[in-house]
Structures are given as C-alpha cells and as structure tokens.
C-alpha cells in the first residue's frame, strides 16, 4: 500500500482528510462504532465494527504525535461524549442529591437516562 501525505483534521466526530494543497477535503470518516488501534511505531489504524478487517492506517511523524492522535480519536465519538455526560451527571447527583441537567431543561431526555442500554 502506498502512503500518501494528507492533512488530517478532527472536527466533532468526523475525521476529515485533505490533499496538502487543497482547501476542500477529499473525504471524511465518521468516528462512531470504530476501533482505534496502535500499530507499529508511529502508526495507528481506524477500523469499523461492521468491517473489522478493513483498516485505515495513518503514519505520524513521531511516536508522541501518534499517541496524541490515538487518545484524541478514542474520545472523539458522540457516544463517548454521551457516556461522559451520563457519568458526570451521576457523580454530581450522588454528591449533591440534585440533577445538574435540570438547569438546562434536559433532565427528562431519554438519551441521558442512567442505565440506558447503549452500545
């Protein structure tokens, strides 16, 4: 496989990639239900749950950069954010006895319920 140099941008739960001299992205990867794997030195890969053998490989300039990307990408999904929200809400509720989401008027939303079965 040939390595092509790309500019890569993580925006919300999308990973955009550009040719280095172009303003419009060539493509994007939706980062939900995906697995970020640290491969050999400087390299990580993204694979998706419905097609695990297909790996999108990225080679970084340094190992440090590689680790940064892996960490950032693992936290990039909407589902991760949702889980964090539920976790913090639960912690605050345990400590104060109050639901911190009430002030935002979103405490009743199904998507934030504790113990909601989520993948």
């Amino acid at each position: 496989a040939v390595l092509k140099k790309r500019l890569v941008k993580l925006v919300v739960n999308f990973l955009f990639y550009f040719r280095t001299d172009e303003a419009e992205p060539i493509g994007a990867l939706l980062l939900e239900h995906c697995k970020i794997t640290k491969e050999e030195e400087n390299v990580f890969s993204i694979s998706f749950i419905e097609e695990p053998e297909r790996k999108y490989c990225f080679e970084c300039a340094t190992e440090e950069q590689c680790q940064e990307w892996v960490e950032a990408l693992r936290r990039a999904s909407y589902e991760f954010l949702r889980r964090s929200l539920i976790f913090y809400r639960n912690e605050i509720q345990k400590m104060t006895g109050k639901d911190p989401l009430e002030q935002y008027g979103i405490s009743e939303e199904a998507r934030f319920q504790l113990g909601a079965h989520r993948q």
Binding site: L29, F48, I49, Y78, I92, G97, E109
Partner: protein
C-alpha cells in the same frame, strides 16, 4: 467528498437506540413537493429513509453549525434546518401536529456535538469544583502548589470540619506553628495555640478559610456532634506536625544516603 458510507449506514440501522424517530414531510430540493420520509435521529446525525423498514437511509443531515427554527410555509407545522454559508441548503420539514413539530425542533436543536460538549465541560467543571471544595479532601491535593506541603491533607480536613468556635480570634487557628520546624512543645493555653510570643512579634495569621455550608444528603461533612475544644485541636496539630517532621527527616536522610 468521500464518506465511509457503509459505516454511516451501519450506524443508522444498527441496534443502538435512536434518540428520536418518526415520520416527517421533507420538501424536495428543486421541486417544492413534500415527500414523506422516516426520520431517525442518532447523536448529531439525522438520517432519513424512504420507508420505515428500508434497509438503508436515503440521506443524512449532519446537525452541526445549524439553526433549527420555525418557518413560513404553505405546509402546516413546518420547520427548517438552516446552515450558514451560501452554498448550504436549507432543509424544510413538516410534522403532523403542533406537538410533534415542537418535539422535533427541541430535539434537533440540542442534538449537536458542540452542544453536548458544552454540557459535558460544564459538568466536568462543576465536579472539579466540588472535589476541591469538599472537606472529604479526595481531590484536595491534586493541585497542591510547590514541592511539598508541610501540612498533611488529613489535617486540612480536620480543620475544615470543625464548626465555628465561639468568638475565636483568627490567630487561634494555630497558624504559624506548622510553618516552623517543630521546636519546644507549646502547651495549650487558654487563648488557644497562638503561634507567636517566644519569637517576638506575632506573625499575621493566614486568612480564615471560607465557611463551607454543610450540604444535605449525606455528604461527608456532617459536623461532629460535640465541638472539640481548641486545646484538643492544638494537640492534634502538634502530633501531626511532629510526625510529619519525622517522616521528612527520614526521607531526607534516605536521599542523602542514596546519593553517590
């Protein structure tokens, strides 16, 4: 622009529960006819299918950087998803009832990743502030400034838990003692453990810690039933400071010992 469409379609149709779903009328791009579609909201993605049981979505609207608002239309219960930028399309949708329209507008305007991230950051901040503030002290030493605090966190906790002693002037907090290498034992006197006299001019005490309100609901800081006297506190204080000084000495000796 290429998109990992297969993953997108998977996300749309997999078992994970949708945040909202239902039939909506969608106005066509070029022709103003409305088409009935099955809409599924998951995260910040609004998928739409031709039929409820279609295996693949016809399209998706990514709900970032958009405004969801009511709009004027011949169609009743209509609302629009508007994106900035001249090239961006405005999606006009219509519901079956006022209630359905309001529900969709509410859900869609809060669906963005940005919105979620804002809420999470707020909660994170609240939690951090609470951890630092609680006398439980679990998070208390996280941002300890400087190399080594002469006062153990347990003592901090002890001090915060004491209810206000009546009419105790600030210097009774036993301020200066723990800044010194423990010298001769200071017997508790009636005015408490002031950290002055022998050395001459009294040093200004540190400011009193802000009084914390004990919160309800069984958090750690329920006050003790009996208020300990100043002398008890001073004794504890002395005990701790001696122990700490001893440990420190040991540690320093070990360090010297291990140097080549």
């Amino acid at each position: 622009m290429k998109l990992n469409e297969r993953s997108l379609a998977f996300y749309a149709t997999c078992d994970s529960p949708a945040d909202k779903s239902g039939f909506l009328y969608k106005r066509g791009e070029r022709h103003t006819a409305y088409h009935r579609r099955w809409f599924v909201l998951k995260g910040n993605m609004l998928f739409y299918f031709e039929e409820r049981d279609s295996r693949e979505p016809v399209g998706v609207i990514v709900l970032e950087g958009c405004n969801v608002e009511l709009c004027d239309s011949a169609e009743s219960f209509a609302f629009a998803i508007r994106f900035g930028g001249s090239k961006s399309r405005t999606y006009v949708l219509a519901a079956d009832s006022q209630a359905a329209m309001e529900s969709w507008v509410k859900s869609l305007s809060r669906a963005s990743f940005d919105y979620m991230r804002l809420v999470v950051r707020e909660l994170e901040k609240q939690l951090q502030e609470m951890s630092r503030g609680l006398p439980g002290g679990c998070g208390g030493s996280q941002d300890a400034p400087g190399p080594w605090k002469p006062m153990p966190p347990g003592l901090e906790q002890c001090r915060e838990r004491l209810p206000a002693l009546p009419a105790v002037p600030p210097k009774e907090n036993g301020c200066a003692v723990w800044n010194n290498v423990p010298g001769p034992e200071r017997p508790p006197d009636t005015s408490g453990c002031g950290g002055h006299d022998e050395e001459g001019a009294p040093r200004p005490p540190p400011p009193l810690p802000p009084r914390r309100r004990v919160s309800n609901g069984g958090t750690a800081s329920a006050g003790p039933a009996v208020a300990p006297s100043p002398s008890t506190f001073c004794r504890l204080h002395e005990q701790y400071s001696r122990e700490v000084a001893r440990l420190r000495q040991d540690w320093q000796q070990k360090r010297r010992g291990s140097q080549p």
